[in-house]
Amino acid sequence: MKKAGMWCKAVLAGVAAVAVAVPFAAQAQQYKGEILHPMMVTRTGPFATASTGVTAGQQDYYTLVNMAGGIDGYKIVWEECEFEYKVPRALECYERYKGKWKMVYPNSTPAIFALAERVTKDEVLAINLAGGRSDSSDGETFPYLAPVIANFWAQATSTIAYIGQLEGGMDKLKGKKIAYIHLDNDYGRQPFPMFDELAKKYGFEWKSWALSWPALEQSAAWVDIARRYRADYVVGWLYGQSCAVPYTEIAKVGYPMNKYIGSLWCGTEDDVGPAGPLAKDTVTANFHGVGKDFPVIKEIEAKVYKAGKGNADPARVGSVAYNRGVITGIIIVEAMRNGLKAKGAPLDGKKVRDGYRMIKLDDARLKQLGATGLMPNLVFSEKYHGGMDSQLFQKWDGTKFTTISKWIPPDQAMVQAKIDDSAKAFREQTKAAPAK
């Protein structure tokens, strides 16, 4: 017993020693001629599937930029901080690399909400492509947040517009029933107000089936949707592993697969792939091109992967999540480049934010970058932080996605009105309370 006690104390002392010896604070240093770019990543847990692809796509693009000499000679050096899509860990990551952030991209809407106050105070832009706060399209109210491409409200109106197209006109939506199955969080709940207004405008009916995190158990919801509610269409707003669950359930309850339309965050091969042929004919939204048929993706393959510097399994290059990462990389690098050009080195969060507001990715610029067709044109300003974009729809044939629609725009007037309303409510809720 005595010996065991000693041993135990030795282990305790060891743990304590490590705790003291390993300084918590990040030691990453930014050397001359480098841009240190900390990255929040999700490599573990139920949401790692698509997220790892997005991370790798960014890193491969940075590698490509570095191999071509960097941004005006500055090399991008990144360091990862794993946060498992969890809010407390995201806050810890943020504090660990505080003062070193150039742009924060957690790829997690809940994390964006929690970080909002801190990034605004520290003047670092936090982005979430096709996510985050929908009302942060308003750059004046949210100077340090941005949805970049297709905010959730734009996505919701565009998806309903697509259903209208399938029915042969928005007026045909009258009397139809749309079931909405979603994660019960900041991400899955954002489309609510849009569905309410659209339902009023076009006379359809919608109902929510909320699934709590991580939403891997969905059978009761699907039986309800297919047998009792008898929905004409089902719109899904899931993420990570929960994206693959509906397909087995749909097959079980015998619901037509082509009437299930997933959100663009369920539109990656990693999401649908596990269901394979079972998910044939299902449709999901997307906001960018798929495949390898873009100069920039080919360049990454030819240069980065040939040199053995790739950050992903080569089979993932060209997949939806991967391309999303490359697009993110292009936007971040473009913001850094603009920031450097306008404000000079060394870069900080504010300069990159200013650079972000100068982004002008028009046809000519996209052609230079080799990203024509990969991403929509993006032009940002102080007032507009992006988000009012169209969606594409893609069909799964059992092994891969093919795009089956044209760009379907959002209901601009409706989304803009909601952004203005919501931004106003935010200003009122957070305005300084009178001193007491």
Binding site: Y94, F113, N185, D186, Q190, W213, A433
Partner: protein, 333 residues
């Protein structure tokens, strides 16, 4: 220990204050609340995170919408949670053990569900409410140090209160109920009164902890942060830290919250030492969970009564060697 806590902002960097100390003592407070109901009174509760959410939302609505001063808003957060806690605690009069766990589990879901769907809460489609800048009597609590002291004062007062409470007549009644509730009630300990009181105090602590999350840590009340896994984590904190121990609640909170971060950082450093690239980043990220799980097993096998017991053992050992500590006499917090 209190002196160390007070001096912390002068010794440690902002990272330690904002990312390590503040969350640890807030969750320590919530764990202490759970320890009162589970560790002392022997009633398992799985709804601690939901009570925190109640506190967080009550406090942010009171302060942000109605201009209630922050100290009162914190108190209100605790009170609202406490009142709901009493209602949730009523089944404990009839059932216990696993059955009670399921009953409190239901409360976790119902409370979160209600917070999201009652339009009045204003959480609406974002499920999140931000707080205005925190000011008390004209003083601006925006620096990490100010926030830390705000949290520390509340936590210290409530810890002292809890510490005395469990050693009082009430605490002894709880322990009697825990050991054998029928025997205790025959001896004159009112089950109705003390079981509900345990839930009341426990959820009050959770509510205050929740409001501190808003005012002292994240600056927002967000439903997402109080899901079931948080309740399970808090339960894990008191089991690792030590059931029926005030100190254990805080040690357990530190263990559950900080160890994963420590492991991740340590592994990153070690991997960097070898020049990087030897281990893939994916393996590294997943290894964190394996190591963390192994450590939980290790500590529970080594000391089933929790970290608090280990701490007192260690302090006693140092005491015998140096004669400077007086921890073994039990007078040390």
């Amino acid at each position: 220990m209190l002196a160390m806590a007070v001096a912390a902002p002068f010794l440690l960097s902002e990272y330690w204050i904002k990312a390590i100390l503040i969350p640890t003592i807030i969750f320590g407070l919530s764990a202490l609340g759970l320890n009162i109901v589970s560790g002392y009174a022997g009633l398992i509760s799985m709804g601690q995170a939901a009570f925190m959410a109640l506190g967080a939302f009550s406090a942010v609505i009171a302060y942000g919408r109605f201009g209630v001063p922050v100290p009162l808003a914190i108190l209100l957060g605790g009170t609202v949670a406490a009142l709901v806690g009493v209602v949730v605690g009523t089944p404990s009069l009839r059932i216990k053990g696993l059955y009670l766990m399921v009953a409190t589990l239901a409360s976790q879901f119902i409370i979160i569900w209600a917070l999201q769907r009652v339009p009045w809460t204003g959480s609406g489609s974002f499920a999140t409410l931000n707080t205005p800048p925190v000011r008390i009597a004209g003083f601006d609590f925006s620096t990490p140090t100010a926030k830390y002291y705000l949290v520390l004062v509340v936590v210290a007062v409530m810890t002292l209160f809890g510490w005395n409470l469990v050693r009082s007549r009430i605490g002894r009644a709880w322990m009697a109920l825990r050991e054998h509730d029928i025997a205790a009630s025959i001896m004159g300990v009112s089950m109705l009164r003390y079981k509900l009181l345990a839930f009341l105090v426990s959820s009050f602590y959770a509510g205050v902890a929740g409001s501190l999350v808003v005012f002292g840590w994240t600056g927002a009340a967000s439903v997402q942060e109080y899901e079931l896994d948080v309740s399970i984590k808090i339960l894990g904190m008191i089991i690792i830290g030590g059931l029926g121990s005030v100190l254990g609640s805080f040690l357990g909170a530190a263990f559950i919250l900080l160890l994963p971060i420590l492991i991740a950082v340590a592994m990153q450093r070690v991997a960097a030492l070898t020049g990087g690239g030897t281990v893939s980043v994916d393996v590294l990220a997943n290894a964190e969970h394996v190591v963390f799980g192994a450590l939980i097993l290790f500590f529970l096998i080594r000391e089933p009564q929790g970290l608090a017991k280990l701490w007192f053992g260690l302090a006693g050992w140092v005491d015998r060697r140096t004669g400077t500590f007086n921890a073994t006499k039990g007078g040390r917090k």
